[in-house]
Subunit: 208 residues, 2 copies
Protein backbone atom coordinates (compact mmCIF):
# COMPACT_ATOMS: atom_id res chain seq x y z
CA UNK A 1 0.00 0.00 0.00
CA UNK A 2 1.29 3.43 -0.89
CA UNK A 3 1.20 5.88 1.99
CA UNK A 4 1.12 9.59 1.24
CA UNK A 5 3.78 11.68 2.97
CA UNK A 6 2.49 15.17 3.67
CA UNK A 7 3.69 18.35 5.30
CA UNK A 8 1.54 21.26 6.44
CA UNK A 9 3.52 24.37 7.21
CA UNK A 10 2.40 27.78 8.47
CA UNK A 11 4.63 30.51 7.11
CA UNK A 12 4.76 34.29 6.69
CA UNK A 13 4.74 35.69 3.16
CA UNK A 14 8.47 36.28 3.51
CA UNK A 15 9.04 32.63 4.29
CA UNK A 16 9.47 32.43 8.06
CA UNK A 17 7.89 29.78 10.30
CA UNK A 18 9.25 31.29 13.51
CA UNK A 19 10.69 34.60 14.63
CA UNK A 20 14.15 35.47 15.84
CA UNK A 21 15.80 33.92 18.92
CA UNK A 22 13.71 30.76 18.63
CA UNK A 23 14.80 27.97 20.95
CA UNK A 24 13.39 24.90 22.64
CA UNK A 25 12.20 27.20 25.44
CA UNK A 26 10.64 29.69 23.01
CA UNK A 27 9.95 27.79 19.79
CA UNK A 28 7.92 30.57 18.16
CA UNK A 29 10.71 33.07 18.66
CA UNK A 30 10.28 36.83 18.80
CA UNK A 31 7.90 38.62 16.48
CA UNK A 32 6.04 35.58 15.17
CA UNK A 33 2.81 36.11 17.10
CA UNK A 34 0.80 36.24 13.88
CA UNK A 35 1.89 32.71 12.95
CA UNK A 36 1.30 31.02 16.30
CA UNK A 37 -1.79 33.13 16.75
CA UNK A 38 -3.34 31.76 13.57
CA UNK A 39 -2.88 28.19 14.82
CA UNK A 40 -4.09 28.79 18.34
CA UNK A 41 -7.19 30.67 17.22
CA UNK A 42 -8.70 27.63 15.46
CA UNK A 43 -11.43 25.75 17.25
CA UNK A 44 -10.14 22.51 15.67
CA UNK A 45 -6.74 23.08 17.29
CA UNK A 46 -8.27 24.08 20.62
CA UNK A 47 -10.52 21.02 20.59
CA UNK A 48 -7.47 18.79 20.16
CA UNK A 49 -5.77 20.65 22.99
CA UNK A 50 -8.82 20.12 25.24
CA UNK A 51 -9.70 23.81 25.13
CA UNK A 52 -13.07 25.38 24.40
CA UNK A 53 -13.78 28.23 22.01
CA UNK A 54 -11.86 29.46 19.04
CA UNK A 55 -12.86 30.30 15.51
CA UNK A 56 -15.02 27.69 13.75
CA UNK A 57 -14.38 28.87 10.21
CA UNK A 58 -12.80 27.67 6.97
CA UNK A 59 -9.30 27.96 8.47
CA UNK A 60 -10.35 25.72 11.32
CA UNK A 61 -11.88 23.21 8.89
CA UNK A 62 -8.58 23.01 7.02
CA UNK A 63 -6.73 22.26 10.21
CA UNK A 64 -9.29 19.61 11.12
CA UNK A 65 -8.87 18.07 7.64
CA UNK A 66 -5.11 17.96 8.23
CA UNK A 67 -5.56 16.25 11.62
CA UNK A 68 -8.02 13.73 10.23
CA UNK A 69 -5.90 12.88 7.19
CA UNK A 70 -2.92 12.05 9.38
CA UNK A 71 -2.28 8.49 10.60
CA UNK A 72 1.24 8.96 11.94
CA UNK A 73 3.64 11.85 12.51
CA UNK A 74 7.39 12.39 12.20
CA UNK A 75 9.13 15.29 13.93
CA UNK A 76 12.57 16.49 14.95
CA UNK A 77 13.80 16.37 18.52
CA UNK A 78 13.80 20.15 18.95
CA UNK A 79 10.12 20.25 18.06
CA UNK A 80 9.42 17.45 20.53
CA UNK A 81 11.45 19.10 23.28
CA UNK A 82 9.79 22.44 22.78
CA UNK A 83 6.27 21.02 22.55
CA UNK A 84 6.19 18.18 25.06
CA UNK A 85 5.12 20.21 28.09
CA UNK A 86 2.70 22.41 26.15
CA UNK A 87 0.94 19.41 24.56
CA UNK A 88 0.27 17.88 28.00
CA UNK A 89 -0.99 14.40 28.84
CA UNK A 90 -3.33 14.19 25.86
CA UNK A 91 -1.37 15.69 22.94
CA UNK A 92 -3.16 16.96 19.84
CA UNK A 93 -1.72 14.32 17.49
CA UNK A 94 -3.83 11.31 18.61
CA UNK A 95 -1.54 9.14 16.50
CA UNK A 96 1.89 7.52 16.77
CA UNK A 97 4.66 10.12 16.60
CA UNK A 98 8.24 9.25 15.62
CA UNK A 99 10.89 11.61 16.94
CA UNK A 100 14.29 11.84 15.21
CA UNK A 101 17.05 11.90 17.79
CA UNK A 102 20.61 10.77 18.44
CA UNK A 103 19.82 9.61 21.99
CA UNK A 104 17.92 6.35 22.56
CA UNK A 105 14.95 6.66 24.91
CA UNK A 106 11.97 4.42 25.73
CA UNK A 107 8.69 5.09 23.93
CA UNK A 108 6.34 7.46 25.75
CA UNK A 109 2.68 6.47 25.65
CA UNK A 110 0.27 9.33 26.23
CA UNK A 111 -3.52 9.51 26.41
CA UNK A 112 -5.81 9.72 23.40
CA UNK A 113 -3.75 7.61 21.01
CA UNK A 114 -0.54 9.62 20.98
CA UNK A 115 2.78 7.85 21.54
CA UNK A 116 6.31 9.19 21.04
CA UNK A 117 8.82 6.70 19.67
CA UNK A 118 12.44 7.86 19.53
CA UNK A 119 14.26 6.84 16.36
CA UNK A 120 18.05 6.96 16.29
CA UNK A 121 18.78 5.42 12.91
CA UNK A 122 17.82 8.12 10.49
CA UNK A 123 15.02 9.72 8.53
CA UNK A 124 14.28 6.75 6.26
CA UNK A 125 13.83 4.38 9.18
CA UNK A 126 11.57 6.81 11.04
CA UNK A 127 9.43 7.23 7.93
CA UNK A 128 9.20 3.47 7.39
CA UNK A 129 8.09 2.95 10.99
CA UNK A 130 5.49 5.70 10.63
CA UNK A 131 4.15 4.30 7.36
CA UNK A 132 3.77 0.86 8.92
CA UNK A 133 1.36 2.14 11.56
CA UNK A 134 -0.43 4.94 9.68
CA UNK A 135 -3.41 2.77 8.78
CA UNK A 136 -3.26 3.95 5.20
CA UNK A 137 -3.63 7.59 6.20
CA UNK A 138 -0.92 10.22 5.64
CA UNK A 139 2.38 10.32 7.41
CA UNK A 140 2.75 13.98 8.35
CA UNK A 141 6.20 15.55 8.56
CA UNK A 142 5.36 17.98 11.34
CA UNK A 143 8.63 19.91 11.54
CA UNK A 144 10.67 21.78 12.49
CA UNK A 145 12.19 23.45 9.48
CA UNK A 146 15.37 21.33 9.55
CA UNK A 147 13.48 18.04 9.66
CA UNK A 148 11.12 19.16 6.89
CA UNK A 149 14.10 20.19 4.74
CA UNK A 150 15.80 16.82 5.23
CA UNK A 151 12.73 14.93 4.01
CA UNK A 152 12.15 17.33 1.14
CA UNK A 153 15.75 17.11 -0.07
CA UNK A 154 15.61 13.32 0.12
CA UNK A 155 12.59 13.38 -2.23
CA UNK A 156 10.35 11.82 0.42
CA UNK A 157 7.58 14.44 0.64
CA UNK A 158 4.60 13.81 -1.67
CA UNK A 159 2.31 16.69 -0.71
CA UNK A 160 3.06 20.07 0.78
CA UNK A 161 0.44 22.48 2.03
CA UNK A 162 1.68 25.95 2.84
CA UNK A 163 -0.55 28.20 4.91
CA UNK A 164 0.73 31.67 4.02
CA UNK A 165 -0.07 34.21 6.75
CA UNK A 166 -0.42 37.80 5.49
CA UNK A 167 2.50 39.25 7.39
CA UNK A 168 6.15 40.07 6.68
CA UNK A 169 8.25 39.07 9.69
CA UNK A 170 11.51 40.48 8.34
CA UNK A 171 13.68 37.99 10.22
CA UNK A 172 13.53 34.55 11.81
CA UNK A 173 13.65 30.87 10.91
CA UNK A 174 13.00 30.15 7.24
CA UNK A 175 10.95 27.19 6.06
CA UNK A 176 13.00 26.98 2.86
CA UNK A 177 16.49 27.88 3.94
CA UNK A 178 18.62 27.78 0.79
CA UNK A 179 17.87 24.17 -0.06
CA UNK A 180 20.69 24.22 -2.64
CA UNK A 181 19.12 21.35 -4.52
CA UNK A 182 18.51 22.95 -7.89
CA UNK A 183 14.99 23.65 -9.19
CA UNK A 184 12.27 21.30 -7.96
CA UNK A 185 8.87 21.45 -9.65
CA UNK A 186 5.60 21.48 -7.74
CA UNK A 187 2.04 21.15 -8.97
CA UNK A 188 -0.63 23.24 -7.25
CA UNK A 189 -3.59 20.99 -6.47
CA UNK A 190 -5.76 23.28 -4.36
CA UNK A 191 -5.89 26.88 -3.25
CA UNK A 192 -8.18 28.12 -0.48
CA UNK A 193 -8.11 31.76 0.45
CA UNK A 194 -9.41 33.18 3.68
CA UNK A 195 -8.76 36.51 5.39
CA UNK A 196 -6.43 34.64 7.75
CA UNK A 197 -4.21 32.90 5.23
CA UNK A 198 -3.73 31.71 1.67
CA UNK A 199 -3.64 27.91 1.80
CA UNK A 200 -1.87 26.35 -1.16
CA UNK A 201 -1.54 22.59 -1.46
CA UNK A 202 1.09 21.24 -3.85
CA UNK A 203 2.05 17.84 -5.15
CA UNK A 204 5.85 17.61 -5.00
CA UNK A 205 6.85 16.23 -8.39
CA UNK A 206 9.55 13.61 -8.59
CA UNK A 207 12.81 14.82 -10.06
CA UNK A 208 13.41 13.76 -13.60
CA UNK B 1 -4.96 63.18 -5.74
CA UNK B 2 -3.75 60.00 -4.09
CA UNK B 3 -1.73 57.76 -6.36
CA UNK B 4 -1.51 54.07 -5.54
CA UNK B 5 2.02 52.64 -5.36
CA UNK B 6 2.04 49.01 -6.44
CA UNK B 7 4.53 46.23 -6.93
CA UNK B 8 3.99 43.02 -8.89
CA UNK B 9 6.62 40.40 -8.22
CA UNK B 10 7.07 36.93 -9.69
CA UNK B 11 8.63 34.59 -7.14
CA UNK B 12 9.22 30.90 -6.51
CA UNK B 13 7.49 29.31 -3.51
CA UNK B 14 10.81 29.46 -1.66
CA UNK B 15 11.01 33.19 -2.21
CA UNK B 16 13.43 33.71 -5.10
CA UNK B 17 12.90 36.14 -7.98
CA UNK B 18 16.09 35.11 -9.79
CA UNK B 19 18.52 32.22 -9.71
CA UNK B 20 22.17 32.11 -8.73
CA UNK B 21 24.93 34.12 -10.43
CA UNK B 22 22.46 36.80 -11.55
CA UNK B 23 24.11 39.88 -13.01
CA UNK B 24 23.33 42.72 -15.39
CA UNK B 25 24.38 40.41 -18.22
CA UNK B 26 22.24 37.52 -16.96
CA UNK B 27 19.51 39.06 -14.81
CA UNK B 28 17.49 35.85 -14.41
CA UNK B 29 20.52 33.96 -13.13
CA UNK B 30 20.96 30.22 -13.26
CA UNK B 31 18.09 27.85 -12.57
CA UNK B 32 15.26 30.39 -12.71
CA UNK B 33 13.85 29.37 -16.09
CA UNK B 34 10.46 28.66 -14.55
CA UNK B 35 10.15 32.27 -13.39
CA UNK B 36 11.23 34.01 -16.57
CA UNK B 37 9.38 31.36 -18.55
CA UNK B 38 6.10 32.22 -16.89
CA UNK B 39 6.48 35.89 -17.87
CA UNK B 40 7.61 35.28 -21.43
CA UNK B 41 4.83 32.76 -22.15
CA UNK B 42 2.05 35.33 -21.71
CA UNK B 43 0.49 36.76 -24.85
CA UNK B 44 0.04 40.08 -23.02
CA UNK B 45 3.79 40.28 -22.40
CA UNK B 46 4.62 39.20 -25.95
CA UNK B 47 2.21 41.77 -27.37
CA UNK B 48 3.99 44.52 -25.42
CA UNK B 49 7.31 43.20 -26.73
CA UNK B 50 6.00 43.29 -30.32
CA UNK B 51 5.94 39.48 -30.52
CA UNK B 52 3.11 37.24 -31.71
CA UNK B 53 1.76 34.17 -29.96
CA UNK B 54 1.89 33.15 -26.34
CA UNK B 55 -0.75 31.94 -23.93
CA UNK B 56 -3.98 33.96 -23.85
CA UNK B 57 -5.22 32.72 -20.49
CA UNK B 58 -5.99 34.00 -17.00
CA UNK B 59 -2.29 34.49 -16.26
CA UNK B 60 -1.97 36.64 -19.34
CA UNK B 61 -5.04 38.64 -18.34
CA UNK B 62 -3.47 39.37 -14.95
CA UNK B 63 -0.33 40.66 -16.59
CA UNK B 64 -2.40 42.83 -18.92
CA UNK B 65 -4.30 44.19 -15.92
CA UNK B 66 -0.97 45.08 -14.31
CA UNK B 67 0.26 46.86 -17.46
CA UNK B 68 -3.00 48.75 -17.85
CA UNK B 69 -3.18 49.84 -14.21
CA UNK B 70 0.30 51.35 -14.39
CA UNK B 71 0.80 55.02 -15.24
CA UNK B 72 4.49 55.32 -14.35
CA UNK B 73 7.29 53.01 -13.30
CA UNK B 74 10.24 53.19 -10.91
CA UNK B 75 13.17 50.77 -11.17
CA UNK B 76 16.74 50.33 -10.02
CA UNK B 77 19.72 50.92 -12.29
CA UNK B 78 20.69 47.24 -12.42
CA UNK B 79 17.25 46.36 -13.74
CA UNK B 80 17.53 49.12 -16.34
CA UNK B 81 21.03 48.05 -17.38
CA UNK B 82 20.05 44.42 -17.69
CA UNK B 83 16.81 45.13 -19.55
CA UNK B 84 17.63 48.03 -21.86
CA UNK B 85 18.86 46.02 -24.82
CA UNK B 86 16.24 43.29 -24.45
CA UNK B 87 13.37 45.80 -24.30
CA UNK B 88 14.46 47.36 -27.61
CA UNK B 89 13.26 50.59 -29.24
CA UNK B 90 9.66 50.15 -28.10
CA UNK B 91 9.88 48.91 -24.48
CA UNK B 92 6.94 47.13 -22.85
CA UNK B 93 6.26 49.85 -20.27
CA UNK B 94 4.62 52.45 -22.57
CA UNK B 95 4.84 54.90 -19.68
CA UNK B 96 7.44 57.16 -18.08
CA UNK B 97 10.08 55.14 -16.20
CA UNK B 98 12.24 56.63 -13.44
CA UNK B 99 15.57 54.91 -12.90
CA UNK B 100 17.38 55.24 -9.55
CA UNK B 101 21.06 55.88 -10.13
CA UNK B 102 24.06 57.72 -8.75
CA UNK B 103 25.18 58.90 -12.18
CA UNK B 104 23.33 61.77 -13.92
CA UNK B 105 22.35 61.03 -17.50
CA UNK B 106 19.97 62.69 -19.99
CA UNK B 107 16.46 61.30 -20.31
CA UNK B 108 16.06 58.62 -23.01
CA UNK B 109 12.87 58.89 -25.02
CA UNK B 110 11.82 55.64 -26.68
CA UNK B 111 8.90 54.75 -28.96
CA UNK B 112 5.42 53.90 -27.74
CA UNK B 113 5.30 56.22 -24.74
CA UNK B 114 8.27 54.89 -22.79
CA UNK B 115 10.90 57.29 -21.48
CA UNK B 116 13.71 56.63 -19.01
CA UNK B 117 14.48 59.48 -16.62
CA UNK B 118 17.53 59.03 -14.40
CA UNK B 119 17.02 60.19 -10.83
CA UNK B 120 20.06 60.81 -8.65
CA UNK B 121 18.46 62.26 -5.54
CA UNK B 122 16.84 59.27 -3.92
CA UNK B 123 13.80 57.06 -3.76
CA UNK B 124 11.37 59.69 -2.49
CA UNK B 125 12.18 62.08 -5.28
CA UNK B 126 11.88 59.37 -7.93
CA UNK B 127 8.49 58.38 -6.55
CA UNK B 128 7.28 61.98 -6.46
CA UNK B 129 8.30 62.49 -10.09
CA UNK B 130 6.55 59.26 -11.09
CA UNK B 131 3.36 60.19 -9.23
CA UNK B 132 3.27 63.58 -10.92
CA UNK B 133 3.04 62.01 -14.40
CA UNK B 134 1.09 58.81 -13.67
CA UNK B 135 -2.23 60.32 -14.75
CA UNK B 136 -3.90 58.96 -11.62
CA UNK B 137 -2.93 55.39 -12.42
CA UNK B 138 -0.55 53.31 -10.29
CA UNK B 139 3.12 53.96 -9.90
CA UNK B 140 4.65 50.50 -10.23
CA UNK B 141 7.85 49.64 -8.38
CA UNK B 142 9.22 47.27 -11.00
CA UNK B 143 12.32 46.02 -9.17
CA UNK B 144 14.79 44.61 -8.74
CA UNK B 145 14.68 43.12 -5.30
CA UNK B 146 16.88 45.80 -3.69
CA UNK B 147 14.79 48.66 -5.03
CA UNK B 148 11.55 46.94 -4.00
CA UNK B 149 12.94 46.38 -0.49
CA UNK B 150 13.95 50.03 -0.15
CA UNK B 151 10.43 51.21 -0.99
CA UNK B 152 8.81 48.58 1.21
CA UNK B 153 10.98 49.43 4.20
CA UNK B 154 10.25 53.14 3.73
CA UNK B 155 6.52 52.35 3.97
CA UNK B 156 5.90 53.63 0.44
CA UNK B 157 4.30 50.52 -1.13
CA UNK B 158 0.48 50.45 -0.93
CA UNK B 159 -0.28 47.23 -2.82
CA UNK B 160 1.81 44.16 -3.43
CA UNK B 161 0.85 41.36 -5.79
CA UNK B 162 2.98 38.25 -5.55
CA UNK B 163 2.78 35.73 -8.39
CA UNK B 164 3.97 32.52 -6.72
CA UNK B 165 5.35 30.05 -9.26
CA UNK B 166 5.05 26.38 -8.21
CA UNK B 167 8.75 25.63 -8.05
CA UNK B 168 11.44 25.50 -5.37
CA UNK B 169 14.64 27.07 -6.72
CA UNK B 170 16.78 26.22 -3.71
CA UNK B 171 19.10 29.20 -4.20
CA UNK B 172 19.19 32.64 -5.79
CA UNK B 173 18.09 36.20 -5.20
CA UNK B 174 15.36 36.58 -2.58
CA UNK B 175 12.49 39.02 -2.93
CA UNK B 176 12.30 39.42 0.86
CA UNK B 177 15.90 39.27 1.96
CA UNK B 178 15.82 39.60 5.75
CA UNK B 179 14.05 42.93 5.81
CA UNK B 180 14.87 43.29 9.53
CA UNK B 181 12.00 45.67 10.03
CA UNK B 182 9.92 43.77 12.56
CA UNK B 183 6.49 42.33 11.71
CA UNK B 184 4.56 44.18 9.04
CA UNK B 185 0.90 43.28 8.52
CA UNK B 186 -0.65 42.75 5.12
CA UNK B 187 -4.27 42.31 4.11
CA UNK B 188 -5.06 39.85 1.32
CA UNK B 189 -7.44 41.54 -1.11
CA UNK B 190 -7.58 39.00 -3.96
CA UNK B 191 -6.35 35.49 -4.72
CA UNK B 192 -6.40 34.03 -8.22
CA UNK B 193 -5.12 30.52 -8.72
CA UNK B 194 -4.08 29.08 -12.04
CA UNK B 195 -1.96 26.05 -12.89
CA UNK B 196 0.88 28.47 -13.65
CA UNK B 197 0.92 30.45 -10.42
CA UNK B 198 -0.94 31.50 -7.28
CA UNK B 199 -1.50 35.23 -7.56
CA UNK B 200 -2.05 36.94 -4.21
CA UNK B 201 -2.68 40.65 -4.00
CA UNK B 202 -2.14 42.35 -0.65
CA UNK B 203 -2.74 45.78 0.77
CA UNK B 204 0.35 46.75 2.75
CA UNK B 205 -1.02 48.09 6.03
CA UNK B 206 0.53 51.16 7.56
CA UNK B 207 2.58 50.52 10.66
CA UNK B 208 0.91 51.47 13.89
Amino acid sequence: MTVNVSADMVMSLDGYIAGTDHSAANPAGQGAERIGGWIHAQSSWRERMGQAGGEADRDSDLMREWFEATGAVVMGRLMFDSGEEHWGDNPPFRAPVFVLTHRPRPTLVKEGGTSFTFVTDGIHNALDQAKAVSGGRNVDIAGGAGTFQQYLKAGLVDELQVHVIPVLLGAGLRLFDSLQTGPHDLEPIRVVDTPGATHVKYRVLKRK
